[in-house]
Each structure stands twice: as structure tokens, then as C-alpha cells.
């Protein structure tokens, strides 16, 4: 034992303490060495560890600490200088690393802490997303249910099936205990239980519609929770001790066809609603979830649509059935009407003939009788017979006319006629009758009224006569005025009404005729009846003249056929009346083409037989024909010149010749044109007439084209020639006026 200068421990080495220190150091070293091993092991295992270099640093720190403690083991006893150096190195290193580690930790620990925060945040987020996922899933589920329900509901157009299906499907989807539908009654004041899920025959419960709970449901389009005790929810007899499930009610709009406007969506204010009530199972502690309520609302809307479709379909089916029925009925009616018309026409045709024959006999014989010697009494009697039979004949004619008018088989005969002369004739016809009744008749024709017009002369005259006749018939005193004027295009509009729509046009004009009288007048309520057949406005006893009541009806038909309108105005009984009618007439064509004169039927009455000295020219190259024609004309007294060629004709013809007869085989067309050019105006030049044996159209057309005044077919008899000359000479006068 060397005495050493080292400091001796203060107390003698306590073996036990030393031992414990020794062991502790050993274990510390062990632990410190194993920590990095563990770290490495686990880090190796983990995939992600961002701070490897931290680990290295930490590992170094730990290892050095462990080394220090390990080396400490040798320093308990005597140790050499190497050990001390090693110890010191170790300690120094350890110190360095520790400080470095300490410094580094200042940076690392906040990071590590924030990692933790982020982890927490992410966990929360994940939880939230899970929740949302759950929500979406339920919604999607709901949507699926709705689609399925809608599909079921809309797959049928039958109202009952729709409603039943709705209830069934809803009940299934939502696992309901009871589902009920209350429909408004016809009066709209009550709701009636129409369909339920469980009970198959709902007894007709009704509740008044104006309950507060119902109003509450109807006022919003959401599903509303209502109390299970409300009258609409009390569907089952109260069985005692169960807790009823929650009840929800929703309104179902009942849309009507009339609610759909083209331009805007249906207003929901003036609507009828049905009430759908849904009850959760009792004793289940289930509650209505939001998504379930939404499902219910959507379904209610869909049901409304489906119901309206069904209603529209029902409506259209009904309309179609109705139309078909009507169609069948109309067809039958039409056939019956046709049969009736045919029967009537046959009857009329037969009766017409049958009636006319004896009528004819009566009239003819009575007029003959009038001619014979009769005593005054007999004469009076015969006159009465004649008068009555004339009336009867007129009646028969009227009836036949009217039936033809109604059939539409009557057609107007259009022709050019002298309008002024029509009125004059009417005037002349009624003047004697009027003067017998001491009535003054005045005729007033407007100055702008055309002289000639195109229309049905006979029927126009008939109408004017009828109207004027009525005026005379129903006037006992005073005067009758007949006025006619043309309505100017500007004033046409004043005459328009529901039935009459005059349209101004170039070739036509509207003639208005007004007959005013100061007679017995007509009361306003009788005016509409005037134009209907067979009605009389006065009792039979006061009628002092004939009249079947058909006259005005026929006039109305004629006037309508002439695109016109007839009406009567009267201030009242005793104040006279004004009958007016408007008819559409055409303007006559104004061109120089003459009307070709084919030899007309024999007119026995007014044939001029004296053609004395009438200068005529005959052109024919056939000598025989020439002398025959000459003989013919000379026999009738004409002064005849004959020529054998067209040149000669042109040389010889002069203004003095009134007519030139030419055989058509000559160049008669050129001669005709020459004559026309040379002599100009029609009333001064000779008339040119062709004689031909041809009856074909080409000849006639050529004659018209070259402006000949007539064509005669050979052979010509004396009578024929006489008539031809008469027509030519007479109608020349007519041509002049054009």
C-alpha cells in the first residue's frame, strides 16, 4: 500500500454503498445502452419517422451517457490514468452532445406537440365526415324510396289505385302503423275519411274542414306534427294503455284542369286539399326524422300530380265517349233528315204537278168564262173565282220556290239588265193598286245608280215587288216612297252586323232599296218573326188581303243569295215602317265585243215584218246560193244588191247598206274587218252577218274574233230570215245604248 496524495475518502469505503452504486451504474449503463437499441428497432419497424438525425443525436447522447456510467464502474477502485482520460473524454463528449440535444429539443418539442394537435383535429374531422356520410346515406335511401313510391304511384292512371298504392308504399317505407287519407266532400265543407291502410272499409267519418288543426296543416306545404288526439288522427278505437306514436299530417293539393293556365303555373290559393295523416307505431318511441318528413312532403306532391293526371284522363275519356255518342246521334239525325227531305221533295214534286194542272184548268177556264156573256152577278162570281185561284196559284209557286230555296237548289240567273227599267216596271205595276187604296207612290232613284247591272233581274224585281206590295197592303192611307241608291265603299261598314259582312270589290256594288210607308206599323217584338215562314203578325180577322206569310221569307232567301241583307224597322204600331234591303250586283262588262247572235227561238210577239226598202248587200261566190238568198230577201221586201267577190263587196259596200250577208267561205273575215274599220261606230255601219252551213265551233269563234255581228246557219227559211232581220234591227238599238 502506497500512501497516495489522492484525497482519501472522508469516510472508509463503505462496501455496501459502493456495491449499490456499482450495481446502479451498471444498470443505468445497461438501460442507456438498451434505449437506443429499442429506438432503432421500433424506428426500423415504423415506416415514417421524420427525425432520424434527431434519433442519431439522441442515441449518441444516450450511448455516451451510458458509456460514462459504464466507465464510472472502473473509477470506483484504483484506476489508471488511461481510464481517467477515457472517462474525461467520455464526459466531455457527453456534455457536448447533451447540450446539442438540449438545444435541438427546443426546436423539436413544439413540432411534436403540434403533431399531436393535428392528430386530434383529423380525428374530429373523420368523425364529422362519418356523420355526414351517414346523413347522405339516409337521404339517398329516402330518395330511392321516393322514386320507388313515385314509380308505383305513377304507374297507374286510376285514381283509387294511386291513392291506395301511396298509402301502402308509405306505410311500408316508413313502417307506419296507420296511414289515412281524408278527401273533401262535394260541398267542400267537410273532410271525409276515404282511404286507410289497415282498415279496409273506412266507415264514413267526416270532420268539418275548418278545424284549427286542419287549417294549420293546409296553410303550409310542410308536413306538420299534430297531436294524436286530434279528430283526424283518432282513427282507431282507443284501446287503452298504449302511448300513441307521433302523428304527422300533410296536405295534398287536388289540382283541377281549370287550374292549369298556359302562361303561369297554377295558383295554389283557390284550392282544394286532401289531408294525409301518418302515424308511427305506438309504443315504439320512434320519432319523426327530418328526412322522413321530407319524404312525406315529396310524396304528397307527387300524389297531387298523379291525381291530376288521372283526373284529366278521366275527363278526356268521358268527353270522348260523349262525343262518340253525339256523333252517332247526329249521324242518325242526319240520315233521318235526309230521308225526310227526300220524302218532302218527292211529295212536293208530285203535288206541285198535281196541283198546278187543275189550277191551270181553273184559271184558264175562268178567264175564258169571263169573256162570255154573263149576268152581273155571274160576272162577280167569276171574278172572285179568278182572283182566288190566282192567289192559290201564287201560293203554290211560292211554296215550290221556297222549298227549292231552302234546299239550296235554287240558283240565281245572272244576266245584264236595265236596273232603272226594273224599278220603273215595279212602279207601273203598283201604281194602279196604290191609287185604288188612295195611296201616293213616289220613286226616287239615286243619280249615281248605274243604268245596267249584272244580277238576277226576275228575282230582284220579285223582291222589290213583294216589299212594296207589303207596304201597300198594310197601309190604309198616306204615301209610299221607294228609294234606291248605291252604298259607297266608305259607308259599307255602317251596314255590317252579325249576319252581313259587305266587302267592297271592284266589279260589284251594293244597291240599297228602302220602302217607307205610313201604315199600320209593326210592334218591335214582332219584327224578328217577320222573316219566318207562315207567321202572321195580325189576327186573321183583320187581314183584308191575301198573303201566305211566305213573301218576306222568300225575299230574305233571295236577298241572302245575292250576298245581301234585308231588315225592317218600325217605330211601333200605327207609326208606319221602313223595309230596307241591300243586294250585291255586278257592273256590266264594258268592252266592245258584241254578243254573237245565233238565231234565237221564234219570237211570235213583236216581229217586225216590214223591211221595206231595207238596203242589204249579199256576198256569195256561188251563183245559185246568191240568187236564192237574194230571192229570200227580196221576198221580205228588202232592196238587195249582190256581189260575187270580196273585192267587189268592198268596192260596193256603203253606209247605206244596213246589213251585209256573206257566205263564210269567202274571205269574209277580212271583209268584216274592213267594214268595221271603214265605217267605225256600230250604229252607223252596216251589220255584218255570216251565212254558213258549218255548225262547228271554229267558225263561230272566228266570227266572234273578227267582230261579226251575227252568224246564220244555212238553209235559211223565210220565217228564219224574217226573225233574223227583226232581231238584228231591234238589238242594234240595244247595242247603241251600251
Amino acid at each position: 500500500m502506497d500512501p497516495c496524495n489522492c484525497i482519501e475518502p472522508q469516510w472508509p469505503a463503505d462496501e455496501l454503498l459502493m456495491k449499490y452504486q456499482y450495481i446502479s451504474d451498471f444498470f443505468i449503463a445497461l438501460a442507456y445502452f438498451s434505449i437506443p437499441l429499442e429506438l432503432i428497432y421500433f424506428v426500423k419497424k415504423s415506416a415514417v419517422f421524420p427525425y432520424r438525425w434527431v434519433l442519431v443525436q439522441f442515441g449518441a447522447f444516450i450511448v455516451l451517457c451510458g458509456a460514462t456510467h459504464l466507465i464510472n464502474l472502473w473509477t470506483f477502485g484504483m484506476h489508471s490514468r488511461t481510464v481517467a482520460v477515457v472517462m474525461t473524454t467520455a464526459k466531455a463528449l457527453t456534455a457536448a452532445v447533451s447540450c446539442a440535444t438540449a438545444l435541438m429539443l427546443v426546436h423539436i418539442i413544439p413540432d411534436l406537440l403540434s403533431v399531436k394537435t393535428r392528430e386530434l383535429f383529423l380525428k374530429n374531422k373523420a368523425a364529422e365526415l362519418d356523420r355526414e356520410m351517414g346523413l347522405i346515406r339516409t337521404q339517398e335511401e329516402t330518395g330511392r324510396h321516393v322514386r320507388m313510391l313515385t314509380h308505383e304511384i305513377r304507374s297507374t292512371l286510376d285514381r283509387h289505385t294511386i291513392l291506395k298504392t301511396t298509402l301502402v308504399e308509405l306505410g311500408r317505407t316508413l313502417a307506419l302503423e296507420e296511414c289515412a287519407l281524408w278527401m273533401p266532400t262535394r260541398t267542400g265543407l267537410e273532410l271525409q275519411l276515404s282511404y286507410t291502410l289497415r282498415q279496409h272499409n273506412p266507415v264514413g267519418y267526416t270532420v268539418p274542414i275548418h278545424l284549427p288543426v286542419i287549417n294549420q296543416v293546409f296553410s303550409s306545404n310542410r308536413a306538420v306534427k299534430i297531436s294524436p288526439n286530434s279528430p283526424v288522427a283518432r282513427l282507431r278505437p282507443f284501446a287503452g294503455k298504449y302511448v300513441p306514436g307521433e302523428v304527422v299530417a300533410v296536405r295534398v293539393p287536388l289540382l283541377h284542369l281549370s287550374n292549369f293556365q298556359i302562361n303561369d303555373w297554377p295558383e295554389l290559393s283557390t284550392k282544394r286539399y286532401a289531408l294525409m295523416v301518418l302515424m308511427l307505431p305506438s309504443d315504439s318511441a320512434r320519432q319523426w326524422h327530418v328526412h322522413e318528413l321530407e319524404l312525406v312532403e315529396v310524396v304528397a306532391d307527387q300524389v297531387a300530380v298523379a291525381l291530376s293526371h288521372a283526373a284529366i284522363l278521366e275527363e278526356s275519356m268521358r268527353a270522348r265517349d260523349l262525343l262518340m255518342e253525339q256523333n252517332v246521334a247526329l249521324d242518325l239525325a242526319r240520315r233521318e233528315a235526309e230521308t225526310a227531305i227526300r220524302a218532302r221533295n218527292d211529295f212536293l214534286a208530285v203535288m206541285n204537278h198535281e196541283m198546278r194542272t187543275p189550277m191551270h184548268a181553273i184559271i184558264a177556264l175562268s178567264s175564258l168564262l169571263q169573256e162570255t156573256e154573263l149576268s152581273p152577278e155571274q160576272r162577280l162570281m167569276v171574278e172572285m173565282i179568278l182572283k182566288s185561284s190566282n192567289l192559290l196559284a201564287t201560293l203554290i209557286n211560292d211554296v215550290l220556290d221556297l222549298s227549292r230555296l231552302e234546299d239550296g237548289s235554287l240558283q240565281l240567273e245572272k244576266g245584264t239588265f236595265n236596273l232603272h227599267s226594273v224599278f220603273k216596271e215595279v212602279f207601273n205595276l203598283i201604281k194602279p193598286v196604290a191609287s185604288v187604296n188612295k195611296l201616293l207612290v213616289t220613286l226616287n232613284l239615286a243619280s249615281d245608280m248605274p243604268v245596267y247591272a249584272v244580277g238576277d233581274e226576275k228575282r230582284l224585281m220579285q223582291t222589290i215587288l213583294n216589299v212594296s206590295g207589303n207596304a201597300i197592303k198594310f197601309s190604309k192611307e198616306g204615301s209610299i216612297s221607294i228609294a234606291a241608291f248605291v252604298i259607297k265603299s266608305e259607308s259599307l261598314r255602317e251596314y255590317r252586323n252579325a249576319e252581313f259582312f259587305p266587302v267592297p270589290s271592284d266589279g260589284h256594288f251594293y244597291l240599297c232599296v228602302q220602302v217607307k210607308d205610313m201604315g199600320s206599323g209593326i210592334s218591335p217584338q214582332d219584327i224578328p218573326k217577320l222573316f219566318t215562314k207562315f207567321t202572321q203578325t195580325q189576327p186573321l180577322a183583320t187581314r183584308n188581303s191575301g198573303g201566305s206569310g211566305l213573301g218576306l221569307a222568300i225575299c230574305k232567301r233571295f236577298v241572302n243569295l245575292m250576298d245581301g241583307h234585308i231588315w225592317i224597322e218600325s217605330e211601333g204600331l200605327g207609326k208606319g215602317c221602313t223595309a230596307s234591303f241591300i243586294v250585291k250586283l255586278g257592273f256590266p262588262e264594258r268592252h266592245n265585243e258584241t254578243k254573237l247572235l245565233f238565231v234565237p227561238k221564234v219570237q211570235a210577239n213583236h216581229v217586225q215584218t216590214n223591211f221595206a226598202g231595207l238596203k242589204v248587200l249579199v256576198l256569195d261566190d256561188n251563183g245559185v246560193s246568191r240568187s236564192v238568198t237574194k230571192g229570200l230577201l227580196m221576198h221580205l221586201g228588202c232592196n238587195v244588191t249582190t256581189v260575187g267577190s270580196s273585192d267587189e263587196c268592198i268596192r260596193v259596200v256603203s253606209q247605206e247598206h244596213k246589213v251585209v250577208f256573206m257566205d263564210v267561205s269567202m274571205d269574209c273575215y277580212e271583209v268584216a274587218s274592213h267594214i268595221r274599220e271603214r265605217f267605225g261606230k256600230r250604229h252607223e255601219r252596216p251589220l255584218v252577218v255570216a251565212l254558213t252551213g258549218n255548225t262547228d265551233k271554229a267558225t263561230k269563234e272566228n266570227c266572234i274574233r273578227f267582230g261579226l255581228d251575227g252568224v246564220i246557219l244555212k238553209p235559211v227559211s223565210v220565217d228564219k230570215m224574217r226573225n233574223v232581220l227583226a232581231e238584228l234591227l231591234e238589238h242594234r238599238v240595244l247595242f247603241e245604248a251600251m
Binding site: V624, L632, K714
Partner: protein, 152 residues
């Protein structure tokens, strides 16, 4: 006036026969009507005119048909003229013959035309004889003192 009335009867029978056999038609009667005091010889004049005319026409037709190359249009024109004349005096058969003739002309059938021409000539002679007889009777009647008016 027995002779006169007898002659009248003869005349009237003759005329009737001519009409019935189709030699003459209504036109001839019309011509008769034209004969009056102013124009006593009207019918005779017209008939003579006719026969002169027809002779000319017939010879023209014959000449035209004898040509090497027959101008059917020309022939047709002649026939047309003849037809017109025949129609004017009421020679029915001649008129119908002309219609036939014209058909052959249209088809340019020389044989047919020649045949028709022959026929026409034939008919013409027959008619001429008949009418001569008629006029002779007329003259005799007038000579016997009959009134012309009864001849209508």
C-alpha cells in the same frame, strides 16, 4: 176549171213524189214560197242557173280528175261549190252525193272520186228531167187558167 184542178193535182202529186223519193227537200219548198207576183219566175230562174252552174262544175271536176297528178284539193273545192248550190235549191240527193265525193277526195281515192262523179252526173240528169216535167205541168196549169198562188 176541171182541167186546171186536174193539172194542179198532177203537179202536186209529182212534187210530192219528188220529195218523198228524196230528190228534193224542204229548201225547194221554201224557194217556192219566195215566188210571188213580183217574182213569178223565181224558181225557174234559180233552177236554170243551177243546172248551168252544175254543168260547168261537173266538167271542171272531170277535167281535174283526168290529170296525171290529180289535184284533190281543187276537186274538193269544186265539189264544195256544187254541194252549196245543191243545198240552196234543195237537191237532196245531189247534196248527199257531194258529201260522199268529198270523203273520197279527202282520202285521195281517184277511183272513188270518178265513181262519185259519174253518180252525180247521173243524178243531175234525173233531177233535170224531173224538174223539167214539173215546170211543164206548171206552165200547162197556168195556161189552163189556174192561179199561181195555188202553186205554193
Amino acid at each position: 176549171m176541171d182541167a186546171a184542178s186536174q193539172l194542179l193535182k198532177q203537179w202536186s202529186d209529182h212534187l210530192q213524189r219528188l220529195c218523198q223519193e228524196g230528190f228534193l227537200d224542204d229548201q225547194f219548198l221554201q224557194l217556192k214560197q219566195l215566188q210571188d207576183e213580183d217574182n213569178p219566175k223565181f224558181v225557174v230562174e234559180v233552177v236554170s242557173l243551177f243546172f248551168d252552174d252544175s254543168e260547168k262544175l261537173l266538167s271542171n271536176m272531170a277535167k281535174a280528175l283526168e290529170e296525171k297528178v290529180v289535184d284533190f284539193k281543187q276537186v274538193d273545192a269544186y265539189v264544195h261549190q256544187f254541194k252549196g248550190s245543191s243545198a240552196s235549191i234543195g237537191a237532196l240527193r245531189l247534196k248527199n252525193g257531194c258529201i260522199n265525193f268529198r270523203n273520197y277526195c279527202e282520202t285521195q281515192n281517184k277511183e272513188g272520186c270518178l265513181r262519185c262523179l259519174q253518180q252525180l252526173k247521173q243524178e243531175c240528169y234525173v233531177l233535170k228531167d224531173n224538174l223539167k216535167a214539173l215546170f211543164m205541168l206548171e206552165q200547162q196549169y197556168v195556161a189552163a187558167g189556174g192561179s199561181i198562188s195555188k202553186l205554193s
